[in-house]
C-alpha cells in the first residue's frame, strides 16, 4: 500500500495547485495573525477562512484529481493489485498531500504565532476536515463517470455543508423555538462536519463562555475528554462512512 501512495504522492506533490494552495494558506495565516493583533483574534479569523476554503479546495482538488487519475487507475487495475488498495492509496495520497499543505500553510504559522491548545484544535480540525472532504470528493467521483457532473456534485456538497445546511438549521431552530432544542442542536451539529469542526475550535476559545447557558452546556459537553473523544469519533465517522461507501462503489463498478 505505502509503495502505491508513494507514487500517488510523487504525482501530486509536483502539482502546481498544491504548491499554490500551500502558499495561499501560508500568506493568509501570516496576514491574519499580523492584522489580528491578539493571537485569539487571529485564530478566530483564521478559523472562519479555514472552514470556508479548506473544504472547498479539498473537495474540488480531490474530485479533479480523481478524474484525472482514471487512466492511471486503469493501468493499476490491470496489475495484480486489489482495487481497494488502489482506491485507498489514491485517497491517502490526496488527503495526505492536502493535509501536508494545510500543516505547512496553517499549522506552522499557528505554531509560531499562537501555540496553544486552541491552535492545536484548529490544526487538528483542519486536517480532519481535509480528510472528510477528500472522502466526500471521492464519493462524488465514483457516483458518476462524467467529470463535469462529478465536480458539480462536489461543489454542491461543499455549498450544502458550508452554507445551506446552516441556513436549514437556523430555520429549524427558529420554527421549533418552543421546544427544548439543546440536544437536537447538538445532533444537528454532528451532522455537518464543518459545524462540528467550528464548534470544537470555538468552544476552546475564550468566546465560548459568552454563549450563556446553552453555550456553557455545550462547553461542558465538548470540554470534557469524553466530549472531545466523541466529537473526534463523529468526525472520523465523517471520514469513514463516505470513504467506505465510495470504496464499495469503486470496487463494484466498471472502469
Amino acid at each position: 500500500m505505502n509503495k502505491l501512495i508513494k507514487y500517488v504522492l510523487y504525482d501530486i506533490v509536483r502539482n502546481k495547485i498544491i504548491v499554490a494552495y500551500t502558499l495561499f494558506l501560508l500568506l493568509l495565516s501570516i496576514g491574519l495573525f499580523q492584522l489580528g493583533g491578539s493571537a485569539d483574534k487571529g485564530l478566530l479569523s483564521l478559523l472562519n477562512l479555514v472552514l470556508l476554503t479548506v473544504p472547498l479546495i479539498s473537495i474540488v482538488f480531490a474530485t479533479t484529481h480523481f478524474y484525472n487519475s482514471y487512466e492511471f487507475m486503469e493501468l493499476l487495475v490491470s496489475q495484480p493489485i486489489r482495487r481497494s488498495r488502489i482506491f485507498m492509496s489514491e485517497y491517502l495520497g490526496v488527503a495526505l498531500s492536502l493535509s501536508a499543505a494545510f500543516l505547512v500553510g496553517v499549522g506552522a504559522p499557528v505554531l509560531f504565532f499562537a501555540p496553544s491548545t486552541t491552535g492545536l484544535f484548529l490544526v487538528v480540525t483542519g486536517v480532519l476536515i481535509t480528510f472528510v472532504f477528500v472522502a466526500l470528493a471521492f464519493l462524488a467521483s465514483v457516483i458518476t463517470r462524467d467529470k463535469a457532473k462529478g465536480i458539480g456534485i462536489a461543489l454542491l456538497l461543499w455549498f450544502y455543508f458550508a452554507l445551506i445546511y446552516d441556513g436549514l438549521v437556523l430555520l429549524i431552530l427558529y420554527a421549533f423555538s418552543d421546544y427544548p432544542l439543546e440536544q437536537t442542536t447538538l445532533a444537528l451539529t454532528a451532522l455537518n462536519p464543518v459545524d462540528l469542526g467550528r464548534v470544537m475550535v470555538l468552544l476552546h476559545l475564550d468566546v465560548s463562555a459568552m454563549m450563556g447557558y446553552t453555550g456553557a452546556l455545550y462547553k461542558s459537553i465538548f470540554g470534557s475528554l469524553w466530549g472531545i473523544g466523541i466529537a473526534l469519533a463523529v468526525m472520523l465517522l465523517w471520514v469513514i462512512v463516505p470513504l467506505l461507501s465510495s470504496k464499495r462503489i469503486f470496487q463494484k463498478r466498471d472502469l
Binding site: 509503495k3 502505491l4 507514487y7 500517488v8 510523487y10 504525482d11 501530486i12 509536483r14 502539482n15 484525472n68 487519475s69 482514471y70 487512466e71 492511471f72 486503469e74 493501468l75 493499476l76 487495475v77 490491470s78 496489475q79 495484480p80 493489485i81 486489489r82 482495487r83 463494484k252 463498478r253 466498471d254 472502469l255
Partner: protein
C-alpha cells in the same frame, strides 16, 4: 458472460475457451464489445452474469491472477508528473519477484528518455511505454488493445516481432485490432464479435478456406455478411 451498460447490452452470452500458445485476434465493428471483453478478462469491468476462468479458477473479485497477464491499453494515459522511470519502477514494485523481460525497453530506447515526464511524451512514445510494460514481466497471457494504433511503422514492426516471439514461448496473446493485414501477420485465430455476440471463432486458414478468399480482410468481410461476397 453478459454485460450491459445502462440500456446498452454490450456482451450477450459470450462463451469461449482460449488456449495457450496462440495469438488470437478479436475483431469486429466498433462497439461490438471487443474492449469490454478484454477489460472483463482483466477485471476492470465486471460482467453482469457469467464467469471468467483462468487456469480453471474464477477470476471474479480476485487480483492475483493478473500477475500472469500483461495488458497494453488502447490509449495509455499516465499521471502527468511521473517520469517514465517512476512508472516502470512502480509497476516493478507492484510485481515484485516477477521475471523481467526488458527487451522492448531496449528496443524502443526508452532508457534514454527515463527522466521525461509522462505528460510531456507524445502519444506514440506513451504507447511504447505501454507496450514495454505489458511485456516487462514475461506474463503467460498478453492482452493488447489496438497495439499498433499510435505507433510508427518501425515501432509497430518491433512489436509484431515481439508478439510472434512470445507466441513461440507458448503464450496466449489476445489482440484487438481493426487492421486486417496486421491480424493476418501475427494471429493464428480470429474471434469475431458482432453486437456483443460471437459471430465466428476460426483459424485464419479455415476462414480463408471457407470463403475462398486469399486476403483475410475480404474473407472476414464475406463472413460477416453471411458468407456472400461483397
Amino acid at each position: 458472460m453478459s454485460k450491459t451498460y445502462g440500456k446498452l447490452q454490450v456482451l450477450r452470452g459470450v462463451s469461449v475457451e482460449l488456449t495457450k500458445g496462440k495469438v488470437i485476434s478479436i475483431i469486429g465493428p466498433n462497439g461490438a464489445g471487443k474492449t469490454t471483453m478484454s477489460k472483463c478478462i482483466l477485471g476492470m469491468v465486471l460482467p453482469d452474469s457469467g464467469d471468467i476462468k483462468f487456469k480453471g479458477e474464477s477470476v471474479l473479485n480476485r487480483h492475483a491472477y493478473r500477475s500472469q497477464i500483461g495488458y497494453m491499453p488502447q490509449i495509455g494515459r499516465y499521471p502527468e508528473n511521473m517520469k517514465i522511470r517512476q512508472v516502470i519502477e512502480m509497476v516493478r514494485d507492484i510485481r515484485k519477484n516477477a521475471p523481467i523481460d526488458d527487451e522492448l525497453i531496449g528496443l524502443y530506447r526508452l532508457e534514454e528518455m527515463y527522466d521525461k515526464r509522462m505528460g510531456a511524451l507524445s502519444g506514440g512514445t506513451k504507447q511504447k511505454v505501454s507496450a514495454a510494460l505489458a511485456f516487462l514481466f514475461d506474463p503467460q497471457v498478453l492482452i493488447l488493445d489496438e497495439p499498433t494504433a499510435g505507433l510508427d511503422p518501425f515501432a509497430a514492426e518491433i512489436l509484431k516481432g515481439k508478439i510472434l516471439k512470445e507466441k513461440k514461448k507458448g503464450k496466449l496473446v489476445l489482440i484487438t485490432s481493426h487492421v486486417m493485414s496486421e491480424v493476418e501477420e501475427v494471429a493464428d485465430e480470429v474471434l469475431c464479435l458482432v453486437d456483443g455476440a460471437i459471430m465466428f471463432y476460426e483459424t485464419i486458414a479455415d476462414i480463408k478456406n471457407q470463403t475462398q478468399e486469399t486476403r483475410l480482410s475480404r474473407a472476414v468481410a464475406k463472413m460477416m455478411n453471411g458468407g456472400t461476397a461483397l
